[in-house]
Symmetry: C2
Subunit: 331 residues, 2 copies
DNA sequence: CTGAAAGCGCTAACAC
DNA sequence: GTGTTAGCGCTTTCAG
C-alpha cells in the first residue's frame, strides 16, 4: 500500500480507504489509486487485514468425503449462500473418521473462521470441546444430534429408512434386506440401518438380512458384490434397502447380471437421490434429503448468527426428506 | 499466548517456542505450557503467524465444479500430497466460467497462497496477468495449454477423443456421432470435440453427427435427451462418443428405453472412467485420465517448487490417458 | 535455554 | 476528505 501511496502522492491510509467501499475518498484520488493498483499489479493482502480486524471471512466446513455428490451439493448450497456476503468456505474432509475430524477441526480453527459447519453430530470429546469453546457459531448438519453443540440443520436418517421399509411393506414386500457399510465412521449410514432394523422389527418381520458391504464410502461395486452374496444366502429376498443410491445401483446391475427381475422378483430402494437413480433403467426408488437445501439453510443460519442478514432467526432446521417412488420399487 | 505465559510464569516467546517443534525449550517447561494450553482451551492463531512469517500454508485450487467426481479425485490427490507438509488447499470453483475464474483467482490470491493450481489453460487476460505476477508457483492442470503460465500437469483431450474414434473405426464403426456440451466454458470438452472432428475427418468420414447437449456440466439426463434427438435425426448412427461417462450413461439408458441394442446396433464410449461406467450393464468403454494422479503430480511439483521436497524436479508432466475397452464398444 | 525489542501489512480511532 | 498513531498476535533477531 505504501508503494501505491507514494506513487499517487497520498498516505497509505487513503489507499486503504480507496480500496474499500463505503468510505469517503475524493473521487479523483480514488480513480488514481485504482489505476496505480492495476499498473503495479498490487493485490490486497487480506492476511494483514484479517489480523487487524479480527475477521477472516472464512467459514470452516467439514465433510466426510469430497467425492460424494450429496456432500458436494451441500457445499455448493453453502458456498452460494455465503458468497454474497464475501464469506469464503474453508473446506476439509475427514474420510469418515472422527479422529481425523478432530485434527481437521483444530487445524481449521487455527485459521480463525467466523463460523464452522460440520457434518454429523458424533465427535471425539476433545473435538466437542474445541467446537464449544471456539466462540463462533457451530452448525451440525445431515443428522439430528441428541446433544447439539449449537445449531442443527438435519433430518432423521432412521426415519428415512423407516419410510422406505413402510413403502416396501405397503407394496407387498416381506423379506427385506439392508445393504450398507460396516459399523464404523459413517454414523448416518449406521442410523439408516438402525432405522431399518427398528421398522422391520416393529412389523414382526425377520431382521436377518443385513449385509455389510465394506467401509464407508461404499461404492457401487461393493454394493454389487454384497448383493450377490445376499442373493446366494437368501435367494428368497424380495426387497433390498440400500444405504445409498450408489449401492442401490450396484445392486440393480448385479440383479441384471444374475437375471433377477427388478422390480418383479426384487424391489430395490436407495438413499440420496443421486442422478444415477433418476435415470437408470429402471429408475431407483429413493429418499431425497435435499442436500443443497441443507447447505443453504446452514448458510442462512451462519449469516444470521454473524448479524450479516436480518430476518426470521432460525436457530435450527429439521428437514423432512422426501420419498421418491420409482420403478425399481413401485407402489 | 500471554495468558499461557503468565500462567506458567515464562515469557510469551517461550510459549511460542514450546508450541512449535524443532525449537529448544526446557522439557518440563514445555510440558507445563502444553498443559496450560489444554486447560485454557487456547487455540493457536495462525493468521498472526502467517502475517509475521509471510507464509500461509495455503495452496489455492480452482476447479470448474465441485460436483464432479473427476475433479474431486484431483483435489483428493492434491490434498493428500500436500497434507504431509502441512499445506492446506484453499478450494474454489468457477462453474466453467473464466470470468468467474478471474474473480475467484483474485480472491484467492488475496489470501496469499504459496502456490496456485488451476484447472485448464484458458483464462481471461487479467487472470493470466494476476497469475503471472503473483510470484508463486502456478500449475495448470487437465489440459496442455499452448502458452503455459508456469507448470503443467495435463494431457491432450483431443488425442484422447481421437483414441476413441480410432478404436471405434477399428472395430468396424463408420457412422460415429459426438454428444457433448455447447461451445462455452468447458474447454476440455471442446477440445475433445475438436479431436473427434479431426479424427473423423482424417478418415474421410462424415462429421455431421454433432449434438449439443447443453451447457457444461452436461448431465446424464441431458445426455439421454441428446441421444434421443440424435437417433431421431440419424437413426443409422452406429457409434456415439460422449464428452463424459455421465453423458455416455445417459445415452446407454436412452438406448435401453428405445430398445436399441448396445453394442449390437450402437457402440457407446465415454470419458473419465467414472464409477458408473465400470459397473453399468454393459460397462462403458472410456478413457481414464487418472484424475487423482493429476492431483498427486501437481502436489509433487508444488512441494518441489517450494523447496519442501527434494528429488528429481519435474517442471511439468504430460500424462497419457488410457483407453479402457469395455462391452459398450468392444473390439 | 530464555527474554526484549521490533515489525509483518493492514485499519480503528482520533485528529485536523 | 485526509493524515497520524497505535496495535492486531505472532515470530525473527539479537542479547544474555
Amino acid at each position: 500500500m505504501q508503494d501505491i501511496a507514494r506513487k499517487v502522492g497520498v498516505s497509505p491510509m487513503t489507499v486503504s480507504r480507496a480500496l474499500r467501499d463505503g468510505t469517503s475518498v475524493n473521487a479523483q484520488t480514488r480513480d488514481a489509486i485504482r489505476q496505480a493498483v492495476e499498473e503495479l499489479g498490487y493485490v490486497f493482502d487480506s492476511t494483514a487485514a484479517n489480523l487487524r480486524q479480527q475477521r477472516t471471512g472464512f467459514v470452516a466446513v467439514t465433510i466426510p468425503s469430497i467425492n460424494n455428490a450429496n456432500f458436494a451439493d451441500t457445499v455448493r448450497g453453502l458456498s452460494d449462500g455465503l458468497k454474497a456476503h464475501g464469506l469464503q468456505p474453508l473446506l476439509g474432509y475427514t474420510d469418515y473418521d472422527i479422529e481425523q475430524e478432530e485434527i481437521l477441526v483444530e487445524q481449521l480453527l487455527r485459521r480463525r473462521p467466523e463460523a464452522i459447519v460440520v457434518t454429523g453430530g458424533q465427535h471425539t470429546p476433545r473435538c466437542r470441546r474445541l467446537l464449544q469453546s471456539a466462540g463462533i457459531p457451530v452448525i451440525e448438519t445431515w443428522d439430528l444430534p441428541s446433544e447439539p453443540i449449537g445449531h442443527v440443520v438435519g433430518f432423521s436418517n432412521a426415519d428415512a429408512a423407516a419410510m422406505l421399509v413402510d413403502h416396501l411393506v405397503t407394496s407387498g414386500r416381506r423379506r427385506i434386506a439392508f445393504v450398507g457399510g460396516e459399523a464404523g465412521g459413517d454414523f448416518r449410514g449406521a442410523d439408516r440401518r438402525a432405522g431399518f432394523v427398528a421398522a422391520v422389527k416393529r412389523r414382526g418381520m425377520d431382521v436377518t438380512r443385513l449385509v455389510d458391504a465394506g467401509k464407508a464410502p461404499v461404492s457401487m461395486r461393493e454394493g454389487a458384490i454384497a448383493t450377490r452374496t445376499l442373493l446366494e444366502y437368501a435367494p428368497d429376498t424380495d426387497a433390498i434397502v440400500c444405504v445409498s443410491d450408489l449401492v442401490a445401483f450396484g445392486a440393480l446391475t448385479e440383479c441384471q447380471r444374475m437375471g433377477v427381475d427388478v422390480p418383479g422378483q426384487i424391489a430395490i430402494a436407495g438413499f440420496g437421490n443421486y442422478e444415477v437413480a433418476q435415470i437408470s433403467v429402471p429408475p431407483i426408488t429413493t429418499i431425497d434429503p435435499f442436500p443443497e437445501r441443507i447447505g443453504r439453510q446452514a448458510a442462512d443460519i451462519v449469516l444470521q448468527a454473524l448479524g450479516l442478514e436480518t430476518g426470521a432467526a432460525a436457530w435450527s432446521a429439521r428437514l423432512e426428506p422426501q420419498l421418491l417412488v420409482r420403478a425399481s420399487a413401485p407402489r
